[in-house]
C-alpha cells in the first residue's frame, strides 16, 4: 500500500522540531502555567510537576509520536484511523473500530471546540499588543478595561480575524510551505521576546517596596514547600499533572497529526525528547521567570497568589503602566509572545481538521482550509457573544482539561497495550538517534495508566465537590450540548472514514490491509 508518496512531509529536521515545539509551546506555558503555579503554592507545585513530567509527559510524548508516524505509513493523519490500525494487533477489526471511534471523537471534539475559544484568546493577545503599543490601558482600571474589551463585539471579531487569516493561509499552503515556514519565523521570535522579558523581569529590582522584588517572586516559585504540598496533596498533584497534559499538547491528537508527516525511517525518539525539553525550557525557565517575578515586584504577593485568569491580561498591564513609556515596548512584546505561542499551537488543531477533511472525506486541502475557517467562525461565535465567559469556562473545563486526560488513557490502552509494548518499542526505535531506556517501557505499561486513572478519578471527585455537575446556567447547558453534538459528529465521521477505507477488512473481520 502506498501512502507516503501521496502525503506531504516536513522539509527539514529543524522545521519539524520548531513546528512540534510550536505545537507544544502555547498559551499554557506563559499564561496557564504561572496562574496554576501561583495558585498552588509555588514551590509546592513544582515537585509533583516534575514527577508528572517524567512519568506522564515524556513517556506519552514518545507514544504519541510513534502513533503518528505509524498511522502516517497508512496515509492517516487523524487519530481514529491511527487507533484502528494499532488496535488490530490485538483485537479483531470490528472491535478495533470501537477504540478508533472513541479516539476519533475525542480528538475531533478537542480540535474543534478547544480551538474555537483558544483562537479568541489569541485574538485578545493581538488586541492587547495594539493596546500596549498605543498605551490604551494606561491610567485605566485594567480589570474593567479587560471586560470592556470582551464586551466590544466588533473589536473582538476584528482581532479574532488576525490569527484566523494567518491560520487559513498556513493551512492553505500546506505542511512544509505553510505551517513549517510560519513556525520557522515565529518560534525563534518567541524565544527572543521571552528571553528579553525574562532578563527585564530578573533585573527589575524592587521598584515599589523593598520587600517586593523579582527575586522574592522566584523564591516563592522555587522554595520546596512540602508542608503546603502535604496539606493539599491531591489538589496540587492533579493541577500539576493536568498542566503537563496541557503544556505538551497531549491527549489532543495533534502531536500524532504532525508526526504522521515524518518520513518512514526518520528519528522520532530523540525528536520527541527534544520537543519536550524545548517546551520545558520555555515554560519552567523562561515562562517561570516572567509573569510571577515581575508581578511580585510591582504588585506584591497577594495579587500573585490570587492566581486568577487576570494575571496576563489584568495584572501585567498594571506592571507595564508602572514602567512608564518603556512599558509600552515590554507590554507589546509580552502580548506578541503570547500571540506567537498561541498561534503556533492553534495551527496544529486547524491542520488536524484540514487533514481530516482531506484524508478521511477526500476534500481538497485548499477547499478544506476554507471549510475549517467557516467551522471555527460558527463555533467561535457563542464564545464571542458571551462576555461573562461562562460558555468559554465550561468548554475549558471539559474539552480543555478533562477530555485530554481521557484521551491520554486511550493513548495507553491502544498504542501500548493493544498495539503491544514490543511493537511500540520497535516503532519508536525505527531510525532512532537515541535508545530510550527500557525502564520507560514498564513505566508506560503500568505507572502511566495508573497515574492517569488517579488523575481522572481525582478530577471527577474535584468537579463533584465544586458542584460542576449540578450547574444549570443556560450557557453551561449550551456548552454541554455543543460538546455532545461534536462528540457524536466525531464518532460518525470516524466510523465513515474507517468503514470506507477498510470495508472488506471489516466485512471479513480479519486484517487484510498492511503498510509496506
Amino acid at each position: 500500500m502506498s501512502s507516503l508518496k501521496e502525503r506531504e512531509a516536513w522539509a527539514t529536521k529543524i522545521g519539524l522540531i520548531l513546528s512540534m515545539a510550536g505545537n507544544a509551546v502555547g498559551l499554557g506555558n506563559f499564561w496557564r502555567f504561572p496562574r496554576l503555579l501561583a495558585a498552588n503554592g509555588g514551590g509546592a507545585f513544582m515537585i509533583p510537576y516534575f514527577i508528572a513530567l517524567l512519568l506522564l509527559g515524556i513517556p506519552l510524548m514518545w507514544v504519541e509520536w510513534a502513533t503518528g508516524r505509524y498511522g502516517g505509513k497508512y496515509g492517516h493523519g487523524t487519530l481514529g484511523p491511527m487507533f484502528y490500525v494499532m488496535a488490530r494487533e490485538s483485537v479483531k477489526p470490528r472491535k478495533a473500530l470501537i477504540f478508533a471511534i472513541i479516539g476519533g471523537m475525542l480528538a475531533f471534539s478537542v480540535t474543534t471546540l478547544l480551538n474555537s475559544y483558544y483562537i479568541h484568546v489569541i485574538g485578545w493577545t493581538a488586541a492587547y499588543s495594539i493596546y500596549s503599543a498605543t498605551g490604551a490601558y494606561y491610567g485605566a482600571d485594567t480589570v474593567n478595561f479587560f471586560f470592556d474589551h470582551v464586551k466590544n463585539f466588533p473589536m473582538v471579531m476584528a482581532t479574532w480575524l488576525i490569527p484566523m487569516i494567518l491560520l487559513f493561509i498556513a493551512a492553505f499552503r500546506g505542511v512544509s510551505k505553510g505551517i513549517e515556514a510560519f513556525n520557522k519565523v515565529m518560534m525563534p521570535l518567541l524565544y527572543v521576546f521571552a528571553v528579553l522579558l525574562a532578563i527585564r523581569s530578573i533585573t527589575i529590582g524592587s521598584p515599589v517596596r523593598p520587600d517586593w522584588s523579582s527575586f522574592t517572586g522566584l523564591n516563592y516559585i522555587w522554595k520546596p514547600d512540602f508542608e503546603t504540598l502535604s496539606r493539599n496533596f491531591w489538589v496540587i498533584s492533579l493541577a500539576a499533572a493536568g498542566q503537563i497534559f496541557f503544556t505538551l499538547s497531549l491527549g489532543m491528537g495533534i502531536i500524532q497529526n504532525y508526526a504522521s508527516y515524518i518520513r518512514k525511517g526518520d528519528d522520532i525518539a530523540l525528536s520527541a525528547l527534544t520537543t519536550a525539553s524545548l517546551n520545558e525550557l520555555a515554560e519552567v525557565i523562561i515562562g517561570g521567570s516572567i509573569a510571577i517575578p515581575i508581578a511580585y515586584a510591582y504588585l506584591g504577593p497577594e495579587v500573585v497568589k490570587s492566581g486568577s485568569l487576570g494575571l496576563a491580561f489584568m495584572a501585567l498591564p498594571n506592571v507595564f503602566t508602572s514602567m512608564g513609556e518603556v512599558g509600552r515596548f515590554f507590554g507589546t512584546i509580552w502580548f506578541l509572545l503570547l500571540f506567537f505561542a498561541g498561534w503556533t499551537s492553534a495551527i496544529a488543531m486547524y491542520n488536524y481538521l484540514t487533514a481530516l477533511l482531506e484524508e478521511d472525506l477526500k476534500i481538497n486541502r485548499r477547499i478544506g482550509a476554507v471549510v475549517v475557517f467557516l467551522i471555527y467562525l460558527m463555533l467561535g461565535l457563542p464564545v464571542a457573544l458571551d462576555p461573562s465567559l461562562t460558555y468559554f469556562a465550561e468548554l475549558d473545563n471539559w474539552v480543555g482539561s478533562y477530555l485530554l486526560v481521557v484521551l491520554g488513557l486511550f493513548d495507553v490502552i491502544v498504542a501500548v497495550w493493544l498495539f503491544k509494548p514490543d511493537n511500540l518499542w520497535k516503532e519508536l526505535h525505527e531510525g532512532a538517534l537515541m535508545k530510550v531506556p527500557a525502564f520507560f517501557k514498564y513505566v508506560l505499561m503500568v505507572l502511566t495508566p495508573i497515574y492517569i486513572l488517579i488523575l481522572l478519578v481525582g478530577t471527577t471527585i474535584d468537579y463533584y465537590n465544586q458542584g460542576v455537575f449540578a450547574q444549570a446556567d443556560p450557557l453551561i447547558v449550551q456548552a454541554r450540548i455543543a460538546i455532545i453534538i461534536i462528540l457524536v459528529l466525531g464518532a460518525v465521521e470516524t466510523y465513515l472514514a474507517i468503514s470506507r477505507k477498510y470495508r472488506e477488512e471489516l466485512a471479513k473481520n480479519q486484517v487484510i490491509v498492511r503498510a509496506e
Partner: protein, 32 residues
C-alpha cells in the same frame, strides 16, 4: 534568595538546559 529555593532553581534549570543541549547536539551531530 533562600538557599533551598536557589538549590532547587539551579538543579531544575540545569536539568532542563543539559537536556536541551544534549538533544540538539545529538540531533544535529554531523554524519560520519
Amino acid at each position: 534568595m533562600d538557599p533551598d529555593a536557589l538549590a532547587f532553581l539551579i538543579g531544575s534549570w540545569l536539568f532542563i538546559i543539559i537536556l536541551v543541549v544534549y538533544c540538539f547536539a545529538k540531533l544535529f551531530k554531523p554524519k560520519k
